[in-house]
Amino acid sequence: MDTRQSDRLLFIESPPLWKGFHYTNCYSKRFLAETLFRSLGLISLLASLYIFNEVLYKGASNDYLFPAIMILLGAIICFIGGEYDYVVYGPTARPIKIFSNGILLPPLYIQHLKKDKGLIYKSSIISYKIIRTEYYSIPDSDNIETVWRNGPVRIEMLLTNGKVKRTSIKPPTVIMAIAKILKEDWGIPVVDEGEGTGTVERVVDGKVFDTRRI
């Protein structure tokens, strides 16, 4: 029976993708980018409002409409940039956790304030589907990367309320680890049109040096 909050931890997504600043998709970089976007956006919004106020009600020159509009435009761009980064790139850089009673995707916005952080309960999952992609790359350094071909990168979970919950893009090894728990431990039926974690290639400076099928 669900306890309506997270129970015993079974799985937590491991590094390297979201740990360490030298990784391009690390959470600290995402946090820095989002903070920068939001801070600048807020300051810009206040500044543009101030200028509009000066122009409209305090007799400042209409010449200032141009910077006011441009700054407002900049504020909008910053907010869009920050929120897009937070919603799309942020969850990719934050770990997925699986508890004995449900799976916890990286919470967004108001989910943080909830007691269960938006935990998807085991009992509410009808089935899940493994989404594969032709190309998925994990950078190891500036010129070395690991490329997965036809590897699983996302899980779509069909819930009892008819909604579909998707994980963010994750490395194939992580997705397969999650899928294993969902299938073997929880007995949830799976739809997988592929096999295993696909083919992995070691690419150095754009050239394939090693290929393995896992």
């Binding site: 200028i51 910077p67 441009m70 940039g81």
Partner: protein, 646 residues
Amino acid sequence: MGDAVLRVTLLNYSSLASYGVWPNEQEIVDIFFVITYVQGNIELATKQLIDAHKDQMYYLNWKYDIDIPDNATCVSMIFEAVAEDAAESDIGDGKLDIDNGFGTDTYNVDWNINNTSFFGIGTDGGDRGAYLSVKLQVATAEEANVIIINGTGDGGDYGLDEVSPGVYRYSADEQAYLINLNVSSASTHFEQGMNTIILPRAIALECQLNDTLYDLGSMTSSNVLYNASFYSTNMSSSTSSSHIVVVITKNVTAAQAEDILEMLTHNTTGARIGNNVTISPAALYLLHLPGDILSSIPTFIKNEGIGEGPNYLDPFAVISDIAGMAFGFLVWVASGGLLLLFVHLAEMGLKAIGNLLLAYVALVEAAVDAIVDAFMAFVDWMVDFVCSAILAPIQSLCEGIWNGLDDWMMGLMAMIDQFSLGVEGGAISQSSAVHGITAYIINSDLVKIIMAIGLAVFIAMLCIQPMISPYMFVIDLVVPIIMMVILGASSAFGAISSDFGVVTGLEDLPHSFLGSSLTDVSSVILGMIFGVGGAFLSFFEAAITPNFYTIVLFAMSIVGGAIAFWEMARVASDAEIGKIDVISSLLSFSFCGSCILLDYVKPDKTIKLSKDLFPGFSRMAKVTTLIDFGISILGCTIVIDAMVGE
């Protein structure tokens, strides 16, 4: 392609009589054979059959491949059996009689090539009588295992382009080092037998090999290249190879071959400067290698080893030289007509400088010095070429910018004033005013000219990319020059500097705002042009890497640059400067500065396309982003100075 070879198999041999006459009669002699391919004027001496006894049949099965034209229909072969240092001292080596009674002592074969093999026997009786059976067949030679070293750089790799999956095209430095390694056993990167490493000169001069060549004096026998044969350009030769400047050959073990590969792909600090890509023989011709490099790649051939030629016959003084080569066996080259690598290199104007030993320090260093000098001269030429190729078509456009800048700015200011009055008087709405100003900026000729310049540079860079791609380091040298010319720096010092005079609205800036520390009006002019140009170059980056981050950063760059530009134009028109100007300038500075920060924390894969398309362009875009940041700082400084002044 010259792949066809004639495979000659020496099957059986027997001495039918003692060699020499009494009292120098010998029943045991060392025997070797000379094989001549008449049409190709090719001749080789085989290894020796030691202590061949009289009347004993020896099963040899020695195989030798001889390069023949692919369209050859017949071959004429001459076989000789030679007794090494026969007892007849006045002759030296002695020729045995295998002429089938024709009186030539040699066994001559004319074979019309067909699908079946030719078997023949040359034999004769008498004092020097012997028996030799041979087999002839046509086979296909296979090129050596080829490894190409391509460079790594900040702008991406260079020297080897993947035109389709698994198919590469060689695009590296025209000049190359060839390292031929006869490897005793297979390893990770090498196959047993002949392996050829093609090392572009630019990488060769940077890798550990160069230090080894320059420090031969301290080379010990433990060095993997110790005693390797070193060939380089023969300065006294009337001909020279267009692409091969050094050939190094050596017999090595698999471990030594891997060590050499490590030496060629890393610099002295251990940093990787090159990648090794193994090319299969089937894909070799798809590389589009220069002809002389391709022709110098040895082929895998069947041979059982060679030896010195008979001292009674050495018409070309070649066979004995070959026996002194580093390889203990015969080396063929892929092109037809020439048999041996040694001969082929000589034909291409290369000569054996010496082995990599202490004794040859001066000679080897002199050869490498010559290569370095030629390389530096080439780099200078390349920089001049790239600059002139790009600058020539845009020079007039740059002048167009300067000629039209003052009119454009005055027009912009007049329009802003007009719309301001209109809005204050209620004649037009604020939205209409903003729309009108925006339309003026977007539709102006100046903006179009700047776009044309950016496009011209972009196209020019793409056009010359195939040529300069092996030399991405050249981009580092030429980009600042190009940027200066595009964005007006050259005009500050060049022929069109007089055009500053037409920018009347900005002439008083140095005295009015900048103070004594910045007295050159060009700083402001350049700042404005840099800002606009940088924004548009950012636009091109966003255009070729259409993803979220490049678009957002481009938009922020536009906003920051536009505000900075507007503020400076405002200062230039002697408008009253207030705290709103300062706020605007600070935000302009913030937008541009944030672009720089965000550019370094953006998620991966956002620059992959641009790196594939043109590595240098991405770097240019980064430079312009920094310049954009600079203009925003400048604008901010001007505005604050102006406010303080008032």
